[in-house]
Symmetry: C2
Subunit: 425 residues, 2 copies
């Protein structure tokens, strides 16, 4: 479907609203997983694994002592007790990382450290504290006063993993536990998915640079920095480009250039239906397919998405609240899918609403809010200020509370869906 919105304002008012879910589906149908690259293990943290990793060897790969003690042949201890102790000769000493130097025969034991390889002939380790040491004619002995069960304190080969077992599935985010696994199996050059590069444009001549002094009637450009942070958090690499002034020709050229250089393009501002908005014009053209330009949601109903040569453009609202929500609902899943994450959407859980929400709307509302834990249950509280234009409550929110279209709102105590925002701890 090629649409043209270039014949001006009248045309722009004609927006066919679709649901968030439909919008997400349209977007993801255009998203392909990014390429694989290899990074050294110390740089792999936070990256997404690009391939399944199978265990190249069992783990542990040798029978490991679980104690500091003596490796014994358990049958040597059969029938022994406090009254009839058994004396066994210490013939070897096996520190961690060394191999046994003597083959055990019945009646002999090896001193062994935790983590060291148990001699093949031994089938148990008895801890130091259960033994009494003695010497006789220059030879060392231990005395044992109870039977030792076969297998005691010996970690068998493959206890944790068998060779060939799936240890890490692709699409997994790498943190401490995964990195430990990769190191254990000697995987230093880790196959990860390339971070999608994301160009960020702000539009609107009302925007001041962050370092510019305040001016009456103008606001500072905060959305680009917020978006850069969201993009990084989602696993992309943000590139803040020069703000686009309200000039269609220049804007179009800049966006064209960005499509060449980056994997995704995100703009903020200029998507409302006012006279001075240009995003709709911008995505018009034979080679651009409009995916949607209105969503049945608040805030951010005029969020727009388009695709050009297989690359996605998202035109998010200039209102901070709407820009934030638009990113989380549409751009994050796109980046997540490019990264090969299995479920790229915000995690949805059902919780109790802690305070009534009475603002009604014919569109679904995504209300910033906070989860509180009460007696093992989560309760969601909507932010005091949740207007699209409000910036200050974003920082205090860890969920988006989903308020369905309704003429009466939702009462305190009713169950609601909430979408958990990432990075909330």
């Amino acid at each position: 479907m090629n649409t043209s919105f270039s014949d001006g304002k009248e045309e722009k008012f004609k927006r066919k609203a679709i649901s968030v879910k439909e919008g997400q589906t349209r977007i993801l149908s255009y998203v392909r997983r990014s390429e694989t690259e290899r990074v050294p293990l110390p740089e792999a943290q936070g990256r997404i694994l690009a391939e399944d990793v199978l265990a190249p060897h069992p783990y542990p790969h040798f029978r490991r002592s679980g104690m500091d003690g003596f490796a014994v042949i358990s049958s040597d201890t059969l029938g022994c007790s406090a009254e009839t102790p058994v004396f066994l000769e210490v013939v070897d000493e096996i520190p961690c990382g060394s191999l046994p130097s003597v083959a055990l025969v019945p009646g002999t034991v090896s001193r062994i450290m935790t983590g060291a390889k148990v001699p093949d002939e031994a089938d148990a380790v008895v801890m130091f504290e259960m033994t009494e040491s003695s010497e006789s004619q220059g030879r060392a002995y231990i005395q044992l006063k109870r039977e030792i069960k076969p297998g005691s304190n010996v970690t068998p080969v493959g206890l944790e993993l068998q060779e060939g077992e799936l240890i890490l599935e692709k699409g997994r985010r790498l943190s401490a536990g995964e990195i430990s696994v990769l190191a254990t199996f000697g995987i230093y050059n880790v196959p990860v998915v390339k971070r999608p590069s994301v160009a960020i444009f702000s539009t609107g001549s009302e925007l001041l640079g962050v370092e510019e002094p305040l001016q009456d009637g103008r606001i500072r450009n905060s959305n680009t920095y917020m978006l850069a942070s969201q993009i990084r958090d989602a696993g992309g690499e943000p590139f803040i480009l020069e703000a686009i002034a309200d000039d269609l020709g220049t804007a179009r050229q800049k966006v064209q250039d960005a499509f060449e250089l980056y994997d995704l393009v995100v703009t903020t501002g200029g998507v409302s239906v006012g006279d001075f908005d240009i995003m709709a014009d911008l995505v018009a053209g034979d080679d651009v397919e409009m995916l949607f330009n209105k969503i049945t949601m608040r805030p951010g109903s005029v969020t727009t998405a388009a695709v050009k040569n297989g690359k996605l453009l998202f035109a998010l609202s200039g209102n901070p609240g709407a820009c934030f929500v638009g990113f989380e609902l549409f751009v994050r899943p796109a980046i997540g899918t490019m990264l090969g994450i299995g479920d790229p959407f915000l995690k949805e859980i059902q919780v109790e609403l802690g305070r009534e929400y009475v603002k009604v709307n014919n569109f679904t509302r995504f209300v910033r809010g906070r989860l509180e834990l009460k007696e093992g249950r989560f309760v969601a509280f909507p932010a005091a200020l949740d207007e699209s234009s409000v910036m200050i409550t974003i920082k205090d929110s860890d969920v988006l509370i989903v308020i369905p279209p309704s003429s009466r709102g939702v009462a305190a105590g009713e169950m609601v869906s909430v979408l958990q925002l990432p990075g909330s701890r």
Copy 2:
């Protein structure tokens, strides 16, 4: 208290165990907040704010239009209705970022865009859709058929924040919402706490480098990479140093050097009571104060902490599970306190235990586990393999389940404390 453990193994067995809480208290009494540095806003993500930030101006700092429409003097619409509409002359047009160019007088209105400054004389904005436009003798008019309430669609100055209000408290971690606030208020050089530099040593000659081929009886050095990941996640900057072989002289010199260069020193391995352990010797010396060398916990009971010239040394177990837990319970809070985070400990919540835990112990157990959400309630499930030596279950855990010392274990359905692991999403 200066202690010497250099007279060998006998001495090493004498360890006085203290509780986790007491250990944490001892550590934190030596921790001072790190210095402040300023970083550019785009690099501030994930950093910890070093100073309170007060609003340098109200926000919004001008009366902002919440709609595309017309700025009106609401008293002009008094008594108007469908039968008796009012006609008002359009005398100005105010795009976003521009200032009104005409002072309104009764009977006149300004066309205005969302986000633009409302003229001082106007006290309401009426949306386009509620008006009918007309022209007469070259002048533009709008027709209104209902009264407009004062204040409609006008965001007052300071709605979100008053000048001087606390907007971000020190100790706060900066993510998208905070970054948006900083940008909005023009704070580009952000005061953040310096990342503590943390030296990591592994000890033990059994360790192979990650890239070395597997050898019988030896394991790869995975803890240093795991620790580096945990340190980064906690907000520190990890430095993986050469592994220390089991040679006391070299080890002591390397650790001395690290104390000079780094803010914290963490070692892994060599803290058990076997013959070949050297950490206890290593922290002996007149200038080293031992804080503890045994904790009443599993895994990791032989975790050691010492302080030298105000700098902390943590000697963690070489067992992956114990090393992981030791870091989370002791090193993370130390780094967090250096960063000025208010509550540097893992967040503790009370949840139901999903499956019985029968392994008993006279020490408190910190069992790796997973939280699952069931009908708005969290339920904690212990990992199948939770031995100290087990590495593979770390990656699948998002909590440590606290099992108090007990002779009977904990039944399914009982409430337990769990410590939430960071980075779990």
